[in-house]
Symmetry: C2
Subunit: 212 residues, 2 copies
DNA sequence: GTCCGATCTGTAACGTGTTCTTGTTCCCAT
DNA sequence: ATGGGAACAAGAACACGTTACAGATCGGAC
């Protein structure tokens, strides 16, 4: 007898996973991240991830719909922790600097983090254009976190313009990162241009700040 | 006797090609473009390109170092012709509208062109993050053409700020296109946000225009 | 016209993402 | 405890980008 209904092979939602499954999922992401930092995203193979994580190759595809999905989840995870670091660091600073100055510091430190982990920058870029719906979902979550962090850094900008400003900075960040890791510009140029963008787009809101 | 020096297999520069070779190159790009619009970039195979162009599969790799390189050359070609259309259309318009208005028209028509050829939008996005040096070169050329076109549309903006503005618009365009083709936003939202970006970033230079 | 090296064709082979298969293990309702 | 279905492991199989190879063909030097 022929099996006519093939079982659903798309990943189950994270919140519906048992503890063992959550651990497998964490192991997969951790293995992917460590392998990427060690050998780079372009040499990473799913067979290696499977081996290092202790999860069978076929099984990884029950957790992540594709290599892109796994990599997107991995970079989203790393980026999220980076953002919380950046925000909390910015918080521990004496008040005074303008929104533009704070934002410049923010993106500068962010770029520096990617500079320290160039393979993760490559990872972020290589995954950004994925059309896998699950990968897309992870990237969307990353963009939301990014937007929230940027919002926290520019509290005094009116919400109407703030939305557009966040998109500008987000797109410019992604674009300059892309130009860098693909060799179309140097890291210094990328950083400088990103800061120029931030300043150009935030200076209109400087006047509201009466400090020094 | 073992051959120890493998022949250079990287693509020769275009300007050093014979007429027959230039024709092969054109055929490859044309085949790639037509196949992409017919079946989409994700289903396009190098074997099909080879077949349709009448160039042997192995030979295509003497013209383009990789699938990415071929696709980058193809979308750069199409985008270039799109830009000349957009610029010449903008030129045939009576003077008067501000730089911001002209730029909004420009990106709106550009987005509309991609809307008519969604597979080419997908193509552009899928190729944007390529790390193939030859593909990167083609993309850099595309970005330069883009910058020149944008410059032509905003003559009255001072060159110092113009550079940053061009990057902002270029990155936002690419980013919104990406968000659209990966299903992270709708085309209308992408278009609207891109226009918001243009307006926000160009309104400071409106005062210089005494029209109306 | 002939020769020679470069280029092209046609096809087989290889590597890696993804899927399939088969047998095993886990988990839970009874 | 146990029977049964879902999930997993191990590995083979498949698809397509890329490379390798063995002749055919082109184009310039003589």
């Amino acid at each position: 007898m022929v099996k006519v209904t093939k079982v659903d092979l798309s990943p189950r939602p994270v919140e519906a996973m048992s503890p063992r499954q959550l651990e497998r999922r964490r192991n997969l992401i951790a293995a992917a991240l460590s392998l990427v930092t060690e050998i780079g995203v372009e040499r990473l193979q799913m067979r290696q991830v499977s081996e290092r994580s202790g999860v069978a190759l076929g099984t990884t595809y029950r957790y992540f719909s594709s290599k892109d999905h796994l990599l997107a989840a991995a970079i989203a995870e790393w980026h999220r922790s980076l953002l919380t670091d950046l925000v909390s660091e910015g918080r521990g600073r004496r008040a005074g600097p303008s929104a533009s100055d704070r934002m410049v510091r923010f993106v500068r430190h962010g770029m520096r983090a990617y500079q320290r982990q160039p393979e993760l920058a490559r990872l972020r870029v290589s995954v950004a254009a994925s059309t896998d719906p699950f990968a897309s979902e992870a990237l969307q979550a990353m963009a939301r976190a990014d937007g929230a962090a940027l919002l926290a850094v520019m509290v005094e900008v009116p919400p109407s313009a703030g939305d557009v400003v966040r998109h500008i900075v987000g797109h410019a960040w992604q674009g300059e990162l892309t130009a860098w890791v693909t060799g179309r510009t140097t890291l210094d140029d990328a950083r400088r241009r990103l800061e120029d963008v931030v300043r150009l787009v935030l200076t209109p809101y400087e006047a509201a700040d009466p400090a020094a």
